[in-house]
């Protein structure tokens, strides 16, 4: 197994794990996104969707554990890389020219990632907790009510919307970066990958953020 631990401890191996876990997280995001969009089909449709998930709860729990592990690996490796990279470049230039040779998305991955992490903690302790372990409101469609109650709190919604902006930043670089890390870079398709990544990041950020905006603007 030494070849394997050599690999996971090498700089390229750590990058590979970042990209692989990152891609898996993006797949999860897509599924989560589709689920959230059920809200727009009305309280009854959303209730039905969540109840369907309740039926397969054991499966959901297994997926949640896998997901947690993926997050942990992604974050653990991200922190490790951040630390190594900080040590490798201790002294900065008198004039910062980084804006002229790279984009802000690529330079801020550790910051945007950390913000997503904080968001995640808030998100789990509010929505996920309310859905799974909280006392459900006595309404016809309790799951929808939980969502609308949270999003009618302006500061909560605003934090949520801003976090989605940072998620978009992270994804915009992450998408094309993962392809480069896997060794897929070619004049033929790399420009397309970059465009698709930006569109994906925009859809995710705007789509997720649209829900709190909807409720803040008085959506029922």
């Amino acid at each position: 197994m030494r070849w394997f631990t050599d690999f996971t401890n090498s700089s390229l191996g750590k990058k590979f794990i970042m990209a692989l876990t990152g891609i898996l997280l993006m797949m999860f995001l897509i599924v989560h996104f589709i689920g959230n969009m059920m809200l727009y089909f009305g309280p009854a449709a959303f209730q039905k969707y969540v109840e369907t998930l309740e039926v397969v709860k054991p499966l959901v729990r297994v997926i949640e554990i896998i997901l947690a592990l993926i997050f942990i690996f992604h974050i653990y490796n991200g922190v490790r890389l951040w630390w190594i990279n900080k040590k490798a470049n201790p002294e900065k230039y008198a004039v910062d020219a980084s804006r002229e040779n790279s984009d802000v998305f690529s330079r801020s991955m550790a910051i945007t990632g950390s913000i997503i992490f904080i968001f995640l903690a808030v998100h789990l302790s509010t929505f996920w907790y309310s859905f799974n372990f909280g006392t459900h409101p006595e309404t016809e469609y309790p799951f929808y009510t939980i969502v609308s109650d949270w999003f009618r709190i302006p500061y909560y919604s605003i934090i949520y919307i801003i976090s989605m902006g940072f998620l978009g930043f992270h994804l915009n670089h992450a998408f094309q970066s993962a392809f480069q890390t896997f060794g897929l870079n070619h004049k033929k398709y790399t420009p397309l990958i970059k465009i698709v990544g930006t569109i994906f990041a925009l859809i995710m950020a705007l789509g997720f953020a649209s829900i709190p905006i909807y409720f803040l603007m008085g959506g029922k």
């Binding site: 040590k87 230039y93 040779n101 060794g183 870079n185």
Partner: protein, 263 residues
Amino acid sequence: MSSNHTCQPERLVTLKLKIWRQENKNAKGHFDEFNQKVSPDSSILEMLDEVNNKLEAEGKTPIAFESDCREGICGTCGLAVNGHPHGPLPKIATCQLHMRNFKDGETLYIEPFRAAAFPVIKDLIIDRTGFDKIQQAGGYTSFNTGSAPDASAILISKKSADLSLDAAECIGCGACVAACKNSSAMLFVSAKVSQFALLPQGQPERYDRVQAMVKVMDENAFGSCTNTYACEAECPKGISVSNIARMNRDYFMAKLVNEKVEV
């Protein structure tokens, strides 16, 4: 009225230079300030020569900096000018940077390439031994040369020959490391790996080479790539980050298929 253009005095550019001075590896450095009038046709190295002449005439220690070919092929002359390795212009080495590119009265910060892997030896001179170690780990092919083989004995496609020569343009200057926020050496190493990986002669050692060079890269205080592509933007030879993707590919393939198993 006689006109004699050739005898007109040359219009000089006046620059405020802030130049990094550092006694040795362990000393604390600082910027020294010079007001310098310089010909627009002089290169930045020629300007430093003039500054040094003046310093020497005053009995002061001249600024230590490195250069050799002064035509962009040896890779020794790297300086950071206003935060840009080899200065703000694309695809040239420091020695090819001429002062006509700067405005009268401009301030220039001239610093050594900065990275933990490239400690400052003195003033603007850095220690790039890390690159030598990486090269020694695999930047070669081993076979008996014998007598010159027939030119068409080994066929090479024009496309891979071109890509290989593009990668071989790397002059080992270290600007990629200096530009990278992580001080990663990926562009350099990937150029050295690619130049052989693209040719038939490089195949026998292809997977051993990439693993050996990456290992030494990781051991020498270089950071890890986060795909910011600052390296490509600052590289004097325009080495493409597609070489990095090729190296990633080769490295993963090496881990999966390489015959050599270390126990």
